[in-house]
């Protein structure tokens, strides 16, 4: 071992999403939309001293074979509304949400995120995502005309304009001098003329506690990594193995220097699922049971249809793979990323594997779709998480429970104390803002960044 400093583990809680990772068939599965469910997960995450709660977003219901996909949890709330409401039932927890930069306008976004940051006392975070598909655009005035190559340009310009608006009131704008009768100084106009926006605006709010709400980003493409390195405070990834994680971590952190940023100014959060057990064997057994719940018979066929590009409802999920060839049909699933890039090659590989291992359709889909990241006893999972962080494969994890709303309870009760025992996780919140929790400096304190980093 070197004398490398021990890194603190950062944890975040992902509200279970609208995909088959979230199990709704379990008797313990509660509402995905009642506010009480969001409140429970957020309070649990705060009890566990997590950095933040995270809510994803998708602006059109997914479709499969030309119809609304009906096998997974469907229905989610408005991001801003839920995060503001959660600010009322939590006191320290960061509140992060996905907001699309294509189907929102910078002025309104700036106002909404500044409002969340004010109303939560400095706990707001924005996961900026881009999309440009005509499918989602059908719900918006803007439509889907933004061409693919423009996505990150629009995202970057959106962030640039929102930050300019957040910075537009000088730090001492709010005077509130009753004797002199001055409430606030004049608000200067913010002008922006770029490829995406032509705006002249006076912003409606003084600087919020964090100055800039924390910016999160997910995107594995080269463009996405570059955008993250230039702009984001934290990145979500999906790199599962230690080695993949280290490669991604090194790559992204290595891009920071050219933007004048230090490696600790960007945190890397892989998403991770987990299954706990009293023993290794029990955890493995629970994991197997959950995989069966996540890939029911109809879901197995639907996954197969995504690759085959055609209706396979006539096939028996407990039988062999279809012998028909895949059709090239990129529109079969809309509203989510389609994973199979070369359907024929995938089908061939799957058939070979199913034959060799004597797997039915459902068994194969269970094998080839994502399995749980961390499976084991609380002590083992704590050790694995700590290893990822200490060996620079991550700065922490965003945990994705498979059950709403109690899926995180056991983790907080059992794994968090193990992490604390290892000296890798906080035993109380030491700051009040999400920037404090993440060890990020305030954006207006650039000159004192070094001292600030040490103090937090």
């Amino acid at each position: 071992m070197t004398d490398k400093p021990h890194k603190p583990v950062h944890l975040a809680a992902h509200f279970p999403g609208v995909n088959n990772t979230t199990v709704w068939s379990d008797p313990a599965s509660g509402s995905q939309i009642d506010f009480a469910s969001f409140a429970h997960l957020a309070r649990t995450a705060e009890r566990g001293l997590f950095d933040f709660f995270f809510l994803a977003e998708g602006l059109r219901l997914r479709e499969h074979l030309g119809r609304i996909h009906d096998l997974d949890v469907v229905g989610r709330p408005d991001t801003f509304t839920v995060l503001n409401a959660l600010a009322g039932v939590t006191g320290k927890l960061g509140l992060a949400g996905t907001i699309n930069s294509t189907y929102n306008e910078p002025f309104e976004l700036a106002e909404q995120f500044a409002s969340l940051d004010h109303l939560s006392g400095g706990r707001a975070a924005w996961n900026v995502v881009t999309s440009s598909d005509a499918f989602t655009g059908e719900n918006f005035r803007r439509g889907g005309y933004l061409e693919h190559g423009q996505r990150y340009r629009r995202a970057a310009e959106t962030v640039e304009v929102t930050r300019a608006l957040w910075d537009s009131w000088a730090a001492d704008s709010l005077v509130v001098d009753r004797q002199a009768g001055i409430f606030a100084r004049e608000v200067p106009e913010t002008r922006h003329r770029g490829a995406q926006f032509d705006i002249a605006a006076r912003f409606v709010l003084p600087p919020s506690p964090q100055g800039h709400p924390v910016l999160l980003q997910a995107g594995d493409s080269d463009d996405g990594r570059e955008f993250g390195a230039a702009t984001a405070d934290a990145i979500f990834t999906g790199h599962g193995t230690l080695e993949d994680g280290q490669r991604f971590y090194t790559d992204v952190k290595g891009r920071l220097a050219k933007y004048g940023r230090s490696p600790d100014e960007l945190k890397i959060f892989p998403a991770a699922t987990f299954v706990l057990g009293e023993t290794e064997a029990e955890a493995q057994e629970r994991a197997r049971h959950i995989r069966l719940q996540q890939v029911g018979p109809q879901t197995a066929i639907a996954f197969l249809e995504q690759v085959w590009g055609r209706d396979l409802s006539g096939y028996d999920p407990d039988g062999p793979l279809p012998d028909v060839e895949p059709a090239d049909n990129p529109d079969i699933t809309r509203g989510r990323v389609r994973h199979a890039k070369d359907p024929r090659a995938v089908a061939e590989a799957w058939r070979a594997r199913a034959e060799a291992e004597r797997l039915s359709i459902r068994e194969l889909i269970i094998e080839v779709t994502a399995r749980q990241q961390f499976v084991g006893t609380p002590a083992l999972i704590a050790e694995q998480i700590d290893t990822y962080v200490q060996s620079d494969a991550a700065d922490g994890f965003i945990l994705v429970p498979h059950l709403t709303p109690h899926g995180l309870d056991e983790f907080v009760d059992r794994v968090v104390p193990e992490l604390q025992e290892r000296g890798s996780f906080r035993t109380e919140y030491t700051g009040t803002t999400l920037r404090d929790h993440l060890g990020l400096r305030h954006p207006h304190h650039r000159s004192t960044a070094r001292e600030g980093a040490k103090a937090s």
Binding site: W24, D78, N84, Y103, E111, Q112, I199, V204
Partner: protein
């Protein structure tokens, strides 16, 4: 006492409707942009037994200069922030439709309705003028006719989206593996002059089904939209006779569109300042006005009540007796001073329940529902 069904709401703008209200010692102006300020104010309104709170909003900075309160939090966000701290009061944020996406607005109000267990409303507003248009940079300033035609379309889109999931769309059917019955999720397929929206909403049908829609009827174009679409119509008038005349006009307009005028509440604005005595209230108002000398004065044509909680109670009774309105929206000139005294109105305390129920309105079935027609829910 006022009639039990006489609707009493309060509108909370900044530190108060008076532009110099922040200069009072009790204004809490330093806290204006915190969650605590808004929770305290709205909980006080709830404890005073008020039926609803209106929260004004705009994308424009207040124009009155450095001596007046300026800056404004997003109103839907404020309503969401106080949702868990309140249990009975209706929350009616303003949300403009001129530069925003009706799809976002629809789910925001639906989510507020979920977070409040059925106490959400939406006051529809438009963004006038070039300044707000330039803040978005997407289109030019519009005249009243264009603004309210767009608002009319936006309300149609939003209310269709609110119905786009039938109440029983979520089925969790284990044998077929289906979480939802897709036949109970509906495309709204709206195509109008200002936008086209496909639907369905990403958010399931909320506790009230249709949250309460409020529209202010100051002019011709907004009154027309109000008569066709609002559950609450807000008016302002210089005296009770003018208010009664306006209400009569609006009721005729409601009937002309085929709606039941008794299903719609016409709410009259009433600016108030309250103190321990009528003289003290008048003195305090003079002080506020003296501070405001240098400010751009707002039009003083509104109905005002400067007095005590006792005299306000009598004034409200007079509104009800004169049938000048179905309810009143109190607009405190200085918020903490008024809220402190509203408990002396001796309103019945609010029981938990939806805003719809408080207004005596049934919960409507989804316009897309066919299978449940005529069956009790």
């Amino acid at each position: 006492m006022t009639r039990p069904d006489f609707f009493l709401a309060v509108e909370l703008a900044g530190t108060g409707a008076h532009p110099a209200s922040w200069r009072r010692d009790d204004s809490r102006a330093e806290d204006l942009f915190t969650g605590r300020y808004w929770v305290d104010a709205i909980v006080a309104a709830e404890n005073a037994g008020l039926d609803a709170v209106f929260l004004p909003d705009s994308f424009g900075v207040q124009p009155s200069g450095p001596g007046a309160t300026r800056g404004r939090l997003d109103a839907v966000s404020i309503a969401a922030r106080v949702a868990a701290a309140t249990h009975g009061i209706g929350l009616v944020p303003q949300a403009p439709v001129t530069h925003t996406e009706p799809f976002h607005l629809a789910k925001a109000i639906q989510s507020l309705d979920f977070a409040t267990l059925g106490r959400a409303g939406w006051e529809v507003t438009v963004s006038e003028g070039a300044e707000q248009a330039r803040a978005f940079g997407r289109k030019r300033a519009q005249d009243a006719a264009a603004l309210w035609h767009e608002a009319d379309e936006a309300i149609e889109v939003v209310t269709r989206l609110w119905d786009s999931w039938e109440d029983d769309a979520e089925i969790r059917d284990l044998p077929t593996g289906r979480f939802v019955d897709r036949d109970k999720l509906h495309y709204i397929d709206f195509a109008g002059d200002n936008f086209a929206v496909k639907g369905p909403s990403i958010t399931p049908r909320s506790p009230q089904g249709q949250s309460i829609v409020a529209v202010r009827a100051d002019g011709v174009e907004d009154a027309d939209v109000a008569a066709r679409r609002a559950d609450l119509i807000r008016i302002s008038a210089g005296d009770l006779d003018a208010a009664r005349a306006r209400r009569t006009e609006l009721r005729a307009a409601l009937a002309a569109t085929g709606r039941d005028p008794d299903a719609v509440h016409v709410l009259l604005d009433l600016d108030i300042h309250l103190a321990d005595s009528v003289d003290a209230a008048a003195d305090e108002l003079r002080t506020l006005d003296s501070w405001a000398d240098s400010l751009v004065a707002s039009a003083p044509s509104l109905l005002r009540h400067i007095g005590t909680a006792g005299t306000l109670r009598a004034a409200l009774e007079a509104v009800a007796t004169a049938e000048a309105a179905d309810g009143v929206v109190l607009r405190p000139l200085a918020i903490p001073a008024a809220l402190r005294r509203l408990s002396f109105l001796e309103r019945k305390s609010l029981s938990p329940g939806t805003l719809r129920t408080r207004l005596g309105l049934p919960r409507p079935a989804s316009r897309y529902a066919t299978s449940t027609e005529g069956t009790p829910s």
